[in-house]
Symmetry: C2
Subunit: 139 residues, 2 copies
DNA sequence: CCTTGACTTGAAGTCGACTTGAACTTGTAA
DNA sequence: TTACAAGTTCAAGTCGACTTCAAGTCAAGG
């Protein structure tokens, strides 16, 4: 668990320094000192960044992710929260699967225009019933 | 295909008038006249709105969706584009499935802390390898 | 005839996750 | 020892999809 210069973290994680600073500002990672001006991060930073990436993939906001770290730096995710998220993903997976199959069908469908394909119409009707609002989580 | 007052469209679609005006401004729907001040939309507007909702669910931006309407108002989606999107969805579905299973396992896992669960670690490693950038399409 | 509520306009604001800009500092290589 | 790449700060900007605001208009009901 040796300390890591920000340059090293940038390189290993692929994230720009600006993002690392931003995450630090939000309290998602913490720097343990400086090397001259440069931030030096604690050795667990790579693990934390992976965790953040994972959280983002699962559809959590940075704020939510931040709340999963206990003050001592360990994880404190409640298992119910995970199950809830998993159930949410499950729903979304089903939606996406229907969508994927619908699109595939539509692409091959012999109807002269997509609008005339009954399956496509069904898809549209489904979508119309729950419009996505704003930048709404797509997951 | 009778004309529809914006109030009726708002009601049937569940979208606020502001959204309808916004969509019109972007050229996604067109009003065919006025009733006093009020916009009156062409009869196909509900279908168009459904299509827009479908496109959004599939992860297209409003701009991309706009490009799918030919100038005459008919759809002109190229079937390859649909297949491409379907393939994209497929990938995303696989990711989400792995994620869902991982979360479910983690929730039930007997490891004292999530970080100690090997499956969880594997998930993190996967996520770490392709961080989500910005407001990146989650789909 | 008058009120009212749902529309109208154009401009500005919001939200999340960053990025960019301007001005400055520093460890390291030449 | 001097140049330089890569950091630093703080404030402001960006992007997409809308929403909100202030001020005005109008069709329909009482």
């Amino acid at each position: 668990m040796t300390a890591l210069d920000i340059g090293v973290v940038r390189e290993r994680s692929g994230l720009p320094a600006s993002t690392l600073r931003y995450y630090e500002e939000l309290g998602l990672i913490r720097s343990i000192g400086r090397n001259g001006l440069r931030r030096v991060y604690a050795g667990d930073v790579m693990q934390r960044l992976s965790f953040i990436a994972l959280g983002r993939h699962a559809g959590f906001s940075l704020e939510e992710i931040g709340a999963m770290f206990a003050p001592d730096g360990r994880l404190s995710i409640d298992r119910d929260q995970l199950m809830e998220k998993a159930d949410g993903l499950d729903k979304r997976i089903k939606q996406l699967t229907a969508l994927r199959d619908g699109l595939r069908h539509t692409a091959k469908c012999s109807a002269p225009s997509h609008m005339e394909c009954p399956k496509f119409q069904r898809l549209m009707r489904m979508a119309g019933k729950n419009p996505l609002r704003g930048r709404d989580a797509i997951v």
